[in-house]
Symmetry: C2
Subunit: 299 residues, 2 copies
DNA sequence: AGAGGTTACGGGCAGCGTAAGGATC
DNA sequence: GATCCTTACGCTGCCCGTAACCTCT
């Protein structure tokens, strides 16, 4: 009869997923269970909160009003847990978006640290390019994200997080003078991040500025793939130093010293989240991420 | 595992009752059920919230911190209900303290009106003198109260509510000149409110000022009793006009016209509640009470 | 001994998952 | 016909109430 926190979590999940069945998956239950919980909530309030058409789920005016209360109640529950509970017992979900580079750096450390501090908290991880992640974040489908450069939305908070120097890398056998110029490098295929990303944009500008028209770029979304391609002799690549240290030490890759004009800016990452986040866990995750990034930097 | 609104309501009830068994009675359940709910809450948080000695229940530091969250969550649930739900479905409890005079005036109207507007809301009524009610209110054991004169606590909000003229009343057979002086009245027993109440204090001052030392006062907490005493010929009494209109019309009582010096101030009632009330229903009850009082005044 | 909180235990019912049913594209 | 929400139904497990127990005054 009365409103119940379970129902509220379900309601929030449905609203955020815009679908009963997706919400059910996310809540680790079945779709009928979600359906019944929403029905119970609606009966308890005596008002319909969600309008279900066959293709979409939308909020009724009452639903929109209730959403605000629901979010505040869920946030309050979590705040209370964080303030009082044994960290072991804190529950909740953090939806985190990350760029692949971070995955290869310290994300495993963060995941481990978080699951140590908050074993009962679930992490919903989305790995994608900065652009895609950014859109999810702006659409409030993520609670926070680690991505390149600040997000210039007014409602978003950005913190500098970490930065990774890029080094030019080539197969050991490649014929390259040192220091190499952009022109030298452009004799080979250049393997880089996908088209719209910040480093690739910077690189194409540099190539244009140097008057190089016929550069052959290979854009890939996968950092691991890029490294593999260089190791296989496909071409040269600017890569985050930490990803290739081991391969260079082992002689599988060669670090190419370049002229200042060919140096790329380090990849600067920020942690970004909505200013009015109602997920009290976000603060903890941010703090933990800053620590992990700092530890990683020192190594 | 997770915190549940049922547990929170139970926690709040236990804290407010300072007892598991009293809370159980108030929640219409059994004492073991309360015990288990509190245990579940504590296990869920991994912290003990309540310290139980054999004679008293007190809050641990964590409990005190949690109390704040619990109150906010309960308030939020109720706000959401008030904002969205069918009024029929709004649940909750309002703890109301009233002076007896109000009971005889329009309290039945208020109760009826409230149970019409919010059939699922429970009213916990305490009828006592203004002084006793005031203490309960200050101790936050009441959500609001209708009592005489403003409560001068800093955290309390007072609204003028209604005022009842007092008329001197006597048994019809009594020998009294008109207009009667205080001295005339004081030849008989004067039946009045209990010692510490505002009208009785005013009356004793008036008697002192008139140099009357040997007045025989009968102080009683019950207005109905007082009326009965006058009807039975025990003495005279200042009574709220509305309570004796019918008896006067029927000839069972006589209204005594008195000189200006013997007139008593009307009984002024205010509605008082804590400024930071977390019970969203209080506002509705206040509004409803003001309406009922106004309607009553017009009759 | 009595008041009040805890533990033990059996039963009822809420809520779940499976499966079938409808509606819309 | 595919997708997605709803309804039906049997079952499990949780929570409740009764009752016995413990502890402190």
């Amino acid at each position: 009869m009365a409103v119940d926190l379970d129902q509220i979590e379900t309601f929030l999940a449905v609203v955020s997923a815009r679908s009963f069945s997706k919400a059910a998956r996310r809540l680790n239950t079945t779709q009928p269970a979600v359906s019944l919980r929403i029905q119970a909530l609606e009966t308890g309030l005596g008002k319909r909160l969600l309008e279900r058409t066959t293709r979409d789920v939308s909020l009724t005016p009452e639903g929109r009003a209730f959403l605000d209360y629901a979010e505040r109640m869920a946030a309050l529950r979590q705040e209370a847990q964080l303030a009082i509970a044994d960290p072991d017992r804190v529950t909740g979900t953090v939806r985190l978006g990350v760029s692949e580079t971070v995955v290869h750096a310290w994300l495993p450390d963060l995941i481990e640290e978080l699951s140590r501090r908050f074993p009962a908290v679930e992490l919903e991880l989305t790995v994608d390019t900065t652009a895609a992640t950014r859109d999810l974040l702006v659409g409030r489908e993520l609670d926070l994200a680690f991505l390149m450069g600040p997000v210039a939305e007014p409602e978003m908070v950005n913190h500098p997080l970490c930065s990774f120097p890029l080094v030019w890398t080539a197969p050991p056998a490649l014929d390259l003078p040192e220091p190499a110029t952009l022109k030298d490098l452009a004799r080979y295929r250049i393997i880089t991040y996908s088209r719209r990303t910040r480093p690739t944009v910077a690189l194409t500008r540099m190539l244009q500025a140097a008057g190089i028209r016929d550069a052959r770029l290979i854009a890939s979304t996968s950092l691991a793939t890029n490294i593999r391609l260089v190791e296989s002799g496909v071409g040269v690549a600017p890569l985050p130093a930490f990803t290739v240290e081991e391969a260079i030490a082992a002689g599988r890759l060669r670090r190419v010293i370049v002229v200042p004009d060919a140096e790329l800016e380090p990849l600067a990452f920020t942690v970004t989240h909505p200013a009015a986040t109602r997920n009290a866990l976000v603060g903890r995750v941010v703090a933990c991420a800053l620590e992990c990034a700092a530890v990683f930097d020192k190594k």
